[in-house]
């Protein structure tokens, strides 16, 4: 009898499944990874959309202000002229203009219907102010307006801009938090699945140790399996999630919040990162679980 000579393993030997296939339960890990990634796509869409919304609102509203003038009819023209002259001499204002009657009517039309006799109503005069860069001193402007035109009121929208921007910002944080939680839950799920698989295969591990397998070899067998499973599951989950987002009705011009949920441009690349991230989470979680379990065995 001659002892066999050793040579480097061929691909067939290398791919040999030393850990027995785990049957239907393996699909649970794949399915869960897929479902979680699907949810993750929406959380991602939510945080990206709310980020855009927050930016848009801040941007659009920060640059404009409105001066509302309520005055007796005979004072109207005088005070309007006074306001315009104040604005003309205020630094930091890019442009300003008084809305004419047609525009005022158009603004009111949704509420009062067409054919409104605007001139017969004590409707305040509106003057639109667009802020320059750097902006104007709103406190100083208010004081000057109060002196020149007592009926004028400067509304720079901060009153309702801030809570909206804050809400959108919170929404974004919530989205990011959801992604983190989904990631943590996935790590926990994979750790549990890996521990179950390691426990089921304790005898296999004992045999492998007996014939001289190093921990890294044994861990590799499990890690590869769970990483590939998670990658496959979350790839399907991502595809389904992206299809779902794409199928949402298109955002209208005003960018309503619900219809604005989705990805734009390069944003579509973000969800493609999710399967890789999920696989990385699976890799680390399984590896940790495997080495922990292996240390319990001799």
């Amino acid at each position: 009898m001659r002892f066999p000579r050793a040579k480097p393993a061929s691909p067939a030997t290398r791919a040999l499944q030393v850990v027995p296939p785990s049957g239907p339960t393996a699909w649970l890990a794949t399915f869960t990874a897929g479902a979680m990634t699907f949810l993750c796509v929406f959380a991602l869409a939510l945080s990206l959309a709310s980020g855009r919304l927050a930016d848009r609102w801040s941007e659009a509203l920060a640059r404009t202000a409105t001066i509302r003038l309520s005055a007796p009819a005979e004072q109207m023209e005088i005070q309007t002229a006074a306001i315009l002259s104040v604005l003309a001499t205020t630094p930091g204002i890019a442009s300003y203009r008084a809305l004419d009657e047609a525009e005022t009517r158009a603004l009111l039309e949704p509420w009062f219907g067409p054919g409104l006799p605007v001139e017969a109503l004590p409707i305040p005069r509106l003057i639109e102010v667009v802020e320059g860069d750097p902006g104007y001193d709103s406190q100083g402007l208010r004081q000057r307006l109060a002196a020149e035109a007592p009926g004028a009121l400067l509304d720079d929208h901060t009153r309702w801009r801030r809570p909206l921007a804050e809400a959108a910002e919170r929404l974004r944080i919530l989205g990011v938090l959801s992604i983190a939680l989904i990631g943590a839950a996935m790590a926990a799920m994979i750790t549990l699945a890996a521990r179950a698989a390691l426990a089921t295969n304790a005898e296999v591990i004992r045999v492998l140790r007996l014939v001289g397998a190093r921990d890294s070899y044994i861990a590799r067998a499990f890690v590869r399996r769970f990483t590939l499973r998670t990658l496959a599951g979350s790839a399907v989950g991502t595809a389904a999630g992206m299809a779902g987002v794409a199928a949402l009705p298109a955002a209208d011009a005003a960018g309503g919040f619900l219809t604005g949920l989705g990805f734009t441009g390069a944003g579509w690349l973000w969800p493609l990162v999710l399967p890789l991230l999920a696989a990385l989470v699976a890799f680390l979680a399984t590896r940790r679980a495997a080495f922990q379990k292996l240390r319990e065995l001799t």
């Binding site: 066999p4 393993a9 499944q17 030393v18 014939v211 001289g212 190093r214 240390r295």
Partner: protein, 223 residues
Amino acid sequence: MIAFENVAYSYGGGDLLSDVTLRLAPGSFHFLTGPSGAGKSTFLKLAYAELLPTAGRVTLFDRDVTTLSRDDVARTRRRIGIVHQDCKFLDHLSVAANMALPFTVSDRESDPQDLDELLAWVGLRHLADALPPQLSGGERQRAALARAVIVDPDVILADEPTGNVDWEMSLRILTLLVELNKMGKTIVVATHDLNLIRQAKAQVQARVLRIAKHRVQLAGADL
């Protein structure tokens, strides 16, 4: 090669083995005998670092086992062929794949012709593609022996290799072990079968270690 110095091993309730001092010289053939539960398997497990001594020093290939890392233990086991009483196969792999497992786990493989020759040596060539559960007790033991020797180890430790087989098969396995010893391998066989030991003494210069009263003693020539 394998040396025990004042080794003791105790489970929770007292010593199973105590004050064991011996040295297994290269090329020696030892039988390890004693009543069931006396500590034969424990002795073997100490010899391949499955268990660590609770007192004293076990040295494998001139290294104290307590200083071995887990990877060192793995590497040491590639120099020790272990034949377990219950064989311990991976039941989802063929007999040939199980035999080649020590190569597989170190990312190597054997020359197919050599593997075939080894299969022929243990008389299992026709069962290469069978799964372990389809084998009889004797076939399993021979496959386990083939797996133990495939990496050309220096030492072969066999725990009751003839425990589940008939006399004829016992002799066949003994013959294989004797052949390995003649190739220079150090052999330790734990058995309670005194007939097997007598049979072996006719073929090879074997020494008998007897476990009694927690001690391992060299038995006399007479059995």
